[in-house]
């Protein structure tokens, strides 16, 4: 297969289309960006494990704040959006523009559902008293998940533009398929970042009889 795909590339010194190479370089740099954000979150969770204090002075524990059902649903939605994106890219390679539109519309809807869940979660946390300013946990959590959410929002916008662009008849041929593939790479990256965030930010909070960070709080809700 790779011979078929490579034969349709414009000649480059690396044998890889420049758009695709640039996107992979960007994703590699974005790995480092998210790597530092995740590290920061984990370090400060270790150093300040007890949670946060709201405006009335009440102490809150992170384990009681999270809603595992909502986060699991969001994760499932994002994974399935990645699957639909893979199908959309495959459809474009085969020149099936209608199939591409159907799949990419699914990705857009799933992306919007994910963003809706995140907005709901942020609103809920805000009403529980967690703000970006009142604790170290609030700062690192909102910055990390907010940055990821921004990436999702950019991805959704990009796919909406591609969807409407496909009706102009200009999204075709090798260049069109490559444009969709590059957008797909970005979308899958957003998915893999969430795979990590889901484990290291959400799931580990539920581990152990006293919580992963040893706050002495039973996990039973």
């Amino acid at each position: 297969m790779s011979q078929v795909a490579e034969s349709s590339h414009a000649p480059t010194s690396t044998g890889i289309d420049h758009k695709k190479l640039i996107m992979w370089l960007f994703l590699a740099s974005d790995c480092m960006f998210f790597g530092t954000l995740i590290s920061t979150h984990l370090i400060y969770r270790k150093l300040y494990p007890t949670g946060f204090t709201d405006a009335e002075g009440h102490q809150h524990f992170v384990q009681r704040l999270f809603d595992i059902e909502l986060t699991s649903f969001s994760t499932f939605i994002l994974l399935m959006s990645s699957f639909l994106m893979a199908l959309a890219v495959s459809a474009m390679h085969k020149g099936q523009i209608k199939s591409f539109r159907r799949n990419v519309l699914g990705v857009i809807i799933f992306g919007l559902i994910f963003l809706g869940c995140q907005v709901y979660e942020f609103t809920h946390f805000y009403h529980m008293g967690l703000t970006i300013q009142n604790s170290v946990f609030g700062s690192t959590f909102y910055v990390l998940t907010g940055t990821h959410g921004t990436h999702v929002a950019i991805g959704v916008l990009w796919l909406i533009l591609l969807y409407f662009y496909s009706f102009t008849g200009k999204l075709g041929g090798h260049v069109g398929a490559l444009d969709v593939e590059v957008a797909g790479l970005y979308w899958h990256f957003v998915d893999i970042v969430w795979i990590i965030i889901f484990t290291v930010v959400y799931l580990i909070e539920y581990l152990g009889p006293n919580g992963f960070w040893g706050t002495g709080l039973p996990i039973a809700k």
Partner: protein, 109 residues
């Protein structure tokens, strides 16, 4: 489409299509296992290790198949792994630097 739609090309696309469906089912199943795992009364270290392993499996499954790294030019794989390795090295270095006991107090959290 300038890429030749040969019989071989279409057969490969169909094969990939089936791979994508299988992978999506596996990803959903692994996520389900992760959620169940956190409620199983096993030692913390065991569950934590399992969660990390399952995340890594999902991560590499997506980059290899959904992101086509397994089919594409080898250079792309190494470009991404280089970024990933730097991120992991930064992560490890930071964790080592801040490997101190809890400094939290009830009035400073």
């Amino acid at each position: 489409m300038s890429a030749p739609l040969t019989k071989e090309f279409l057969a490969e696309e169909v094969r990939r299509y089936h791979h994508f469906i299988t992978l999506a089912l596996w990803l959903a199943a692994i996520t389900g296992v992760e959620i169940v795992l956190i409620f199983i009364p096993l030692p913390l270290a065991v569950i934590f290790t399992l969660l990390c392993l399952l995340s890594a499996v999902k991560f590499f499954a997506v980059i290899l198949w959904f992101m086509h790294l397994i089919y594409d030019h080898r250079l792309l794989f190494w470009v991404f792994i280089a970024g990933l390795a730097l991120a992991f090295a930064t992560f490890t270095a930071l964790l080592a630097l801040f490997h101190v006991d809890r400094i939290d107090t009830k009035w400073f959290s």
